[in-house]
């Protein structure tokens, strides 16, 4: 980056998603900082920064791998705390998929608002700034008293659709009422039709009855959502769309969490493709699921880091995806 020594970007990577950190570092033309991260025999996490971060602008990249959410979160907190103790000037937590984002409201008696707890924990550990991608609910930004930059995968998705499909043949479909806004935004940018599937959800991760609102006949139906977890919703929605005469169905999803039997569910579904970004480490899932395509989101994150560091506006990234 800049030639002057003082206050440079220090990119620190957690253990959950080193590939993403490497890509971001490459994009920024810097090296990932040397760190030591290990677990004691009793599984307590220990972390040490291998180089000075005094008065530096520290960016800590930690996604949370499926099944290891708490492990990744604790490691992130310890990393932040270590950098705070080591006199970093500013600590930005880059959390592409925000953990516990779905536990964001007291929807039942005594239900914990875990997303707020995570927000408070990050600030308590010493984070000065948060960079994330496609928060499940933008209100989570309000849980923080530090700035939160919520980046969008939408520009990347728009490019993907434009490059691979004739947008006149497409219908953008939201698999639930909550995602209607996200879907209409993409539909507006592409000047295409829009449809919505209403679902009843008796319990988390269980999908009930589905009703299609809108017309998808002889069109390429593109389901848009912020996360694909067990993929039950997506696969059922795809089946509903097929039943209603869609030519083919694919899904564009920001966070491919893909837990449980998601891969098997996908392989046996009518979905022609599931396109996810690399916010979540996918491991061997790409090999196990031929329908899975990955869009690299690291240019957007790297550019956000660069702009944050230089004090430039990040707004550009809300509408444009750096190549």
């Amino acid at each position: 980056m800049s030639a002057e020594m003082a206050n440079e970007i220090k990119l620190i990577s957690g253990r959950s998603h080193p590939e993403l950190s490497d890509k971001i570092a490459k994009r920024l033309g810097i090296e990932v900082a040397r760190t030591i991260s290990l677990n004691y025999s009793n599984q307590e996490t220990s972390f040490t920064v291998g180089e000075s971060v005094r008065d530096e602008d520290v960016f800590i990249v930690q996604s949370t791998a499926t099944g290891d959410v708490n492990e990744g979160l604790m490691e992130l907190l310890i990393m932040i705390s270590a950098c705070r103790t080591a006199s970093a000037r500013r600590i930005t937590a880059v959390i592409p998929n925000f953990p516990y984002a779905r536990q964001d409201k007291k929807d039942k008696s005594r239900a914990p608002i875990s997303a707020r707890l995570v927000a408070n924990m990050l600030q308590t550990a010493g984070a000065n700034h948060i960079v994330t991608v496609d928060l499940h609910a933008s209100q989570i930004q309000g849980f923080f008293s530090v700035p939160v930059d919520n980046l969008y995968a939408e520009p990347s998705f728009l490019r993907y659709i434009r490059e691979n499909f004739n947008s006149e043949d497409c219908v953008i479909v939201s698999p639930d009422a909550g995602g209607a806004k996200r879907a209409t935004s993409i539909a507006d940018h592409l000047n295409t039709a829009f449809a919505l599937i209403h679902k009843e959800r008796p319990r988390p991760n269980v999908v009930g009855r589905m009703v299609l609102v809108g017309n998808v006949e002889d069109k390429v139906a593109i389901l848009v959502d912020d996360m694909a977890d067990t993929c039950g919703t997506l696969v059922k929605a795809a089946a509903v769309l097929k039943e209603n005469g869609a030519k083919s169905v694919l899904a564009l999803v920001t966070h491919g969490i893909l837990s449980g039997n998601a891969i098997e569910t996908l392989n046996g579904s009518v979905l022609s493709a599931l396109v996810v970004t690399n916010t979540v480490p996918l491991g061997d899932k790409v090999q196990r699921c031929p329908k899975l395509r990955v869009i690299d989101i690291s240019p957007t994150i790297a550019e956000a880091i660069r702009r944050t560091h230089n004090g430039e506006s990040v707004s550009y990234l809300f509408t444009h995806a750096p190549v």
Binding site: V49, M74, T85, L117, T124
Partner: protein, 504 residues
């Protein structure tokens, strides 16, 4: 108790049940599960509005999950308008990371204290914190209970010759804990210390000495003289002297005692004996030397030990975590002189920045907890250490005491030292928290020098594992914790819980 709810985390349902039995109530209902993506889900199934809520959570092999669960439970209770939330943590997680021990490490225990505060805790009850200074990390009150009265009581009831026994600390950092138990039982105490400073160099020179005992003299004596001069000049600066003369730290260590000729012969032996090293390595009970200075140095916090308790200094060689005969050929021999005593690549990348000062600090800079945290890392294979036993344990029962048993290395080394070198009659390994990482319990069970392992149920031990360990004795903490909860709820004093009950 009216208006009280006790929730149990997934880590310790049986302990919570026992606590509740003591209080004549049932644990409050909560559904603790994980979503398929690994996020923790908490549902509090009973009203907590205006209730005095206690959440019991210990450690577990999935410690980070356990912590998140605790934090979410607390947060859920706070969101459910509980009047006060108390976290009951018999084992405080991350308590060993309570200081910035290397460059740019995190003080995770402090962070955890802050996280608990953020989640909504108004009070913390815990047992035997690794460092009692950690109470200062919290903004809310902390009750740090002691398991010591319980342990002392067990000893009085179950060890037939406890009045003749010796309490031994297995490292300098834990000596304070040991003296407290020793004082409570009015017993003598001793100490086992592993010397990091004696690296492969010493091994090489020692093996050389064994091979040809004559040629060594012209090589070693000038160094020995030089070092002695240094340490005599800087009376208290022997650790600096060690750093200055790393090529033969063994000789330096010998000289720590010698500048003060309190016992006849000590000084003259190391100064004039043509074979100082073989003599020293074969030191037995009959050869005593003065350890006053070593002792003061390792303590460094003003505790007075210069009485007759610690008469004996016994050395042993520790290779790959076990006591070996003096003529044992160390595997480190081949790389002697070049290797930094640690092969872990992660640590190696920092070796230059913090490993050296660390070994210097071991000489006894008085940082009470330092050595007990880091000592495990030293006991790496292929590295030879000098292990030293201070105190007379011959024919007596020995209680090796620390606050937790996690890795077996130092316990087995200490047990072998007191049993093989010190001729102890029986060896009891006693700790509050039986963390037993990895196959620690199995290894300790297999060690023939250890007779009994005593821990409390502060950290859950899988039943299956406990059954297979015939040497294991688990003391029940539930009464102590229940009493702490009851006194907290009614606003009574905690002080009686710290006192020893002399019921024997």
């Amino acid at each position: 108790m009216r208006g009280t709810l006790i929730f149990s985390g997934t880590s310790c349902p049986s302990l919570t049940k026992k606590i509740c039995e003591n209080l004549g109530m049932a644990p409050a209902e909560a559904e603790l599960t994980q979503f398929s993506n690994g996020e923790t889900s908490v549902r509090i199934l009973t009203s907590v509005r205006e209730k005095d809520v206690f959440v019991v959570q210990s450690g577990s092999p999935k410690i980070n999950d356990t912590i998140m669960e605790l934090l979410i439970m607390i947060s859920a209770c706070k969101g459910g308008s509980a009047s006060k939330i108390t976290a009951v943590l018999p084992y405080f997680p991350y308590s060993r990371q309570s200081k910035k021990k290397s460059h740019r490490g995190a003080i995770t225990a402090r962070m955890l204290a802050n996280l608990l505060g953020v989640a909504g805790v108004k009070h913390v009850v815990t047992v035997d914190l690794h460092a009692s200074q950690m109470q200062g990390f919290f903004k809310c009150p902390v009750d740090n209970l002691h398991a010591e009265p319980l342990i002392a009581r067990w000893i009085r009831h179950n060890v037939p010759d406890w009045k003749e026994a010796v309490v031994v600390s297995k490292n300098a950092g834990g000596t304070k804990r040991v003296t407290s138990l020793a004082d409570a039982l009015k017993l003598n105490f001793g100490m086992v210390t592993t010397d990091k400073k004696r690296g492969p160099n010493m091994t090489a020179s020692m093996i050389m000495n064994h091979l040809d005992g004559i040629e060594r003299q012209p090589v070693l004596d000038p160094i020995s003289n030089q070092v002695r001069t240094t340490s005599t000049e800087t009376q208290n600066g022997s650790s600096e002297a060690t750093n200055a003369q790393p090529q033969d730290s063994r000789t330096v260590a010998d000289d720590q005692g010698s500048p003060r000729p309190v016992v006849n012969g000590t000084r003259s032996r190391s100064a004039s004996n043509p074979k100082p090293i073989p003599t020293r390595s074969q030191t037995t009970l009959s050869q005593s030397s003065v350890i006053d200075e070593v002792d003061e140095e390792t303590e460094g916090d003003g505790l007075e030990y210069n009485d007759q308790r610690a008469h004996e200094v016994i050395h042993g060689r520790l290779v790959e975590g076990h006591i070996v005969p003096d003529d044992f050929v160390s595997p480190a021999e081949s790389v002697a002189g070049t290797e930094i005593p640690d092969e872990d690549p992660m640590v190696m990348s920092h070796a230059s920045s913090f490993f050296a000062p660390q070994s210097h600090a071991l000489g006894g800079s008085g940082d009470a907890a330092a050595s007990s945290d880091e000592e495990e890392e030293i006991l790496k294979p292929k590295v030879e250490h000098m292990i030293t036993l201070v105190g007379d344990v011959k024919g007596r029962s020995v209680f090796i005491v620390d606050d937790m048993i996690d890795k077996p290395g130092s316990w087995i080394a200490a047990a072998e030292t007191v049993a093989k070198r010190g001729s102890a009659k029986k060896v009891y390994c006693i700790a509050t928290h039986g963390v037993f990482g990895g196959d620690c319990l199995e290894q300790m069970q297999a060690c023939e020098c250890i007779d009994t392992i005593v821990v409390t149920n502060s950290y859950p031990i899988p039943e299956e594992k406990a059954r297979r360990a015939s040497k294991l004795v688990v003391l029940d903490l539930s009464f102590l914790l229940a009493e702490a909860i009851r006194r907290n709820h009614y606003g009574e004093s905690m002080s009686p819980l710290f006192q020893h009950v002399l019921d024997s």
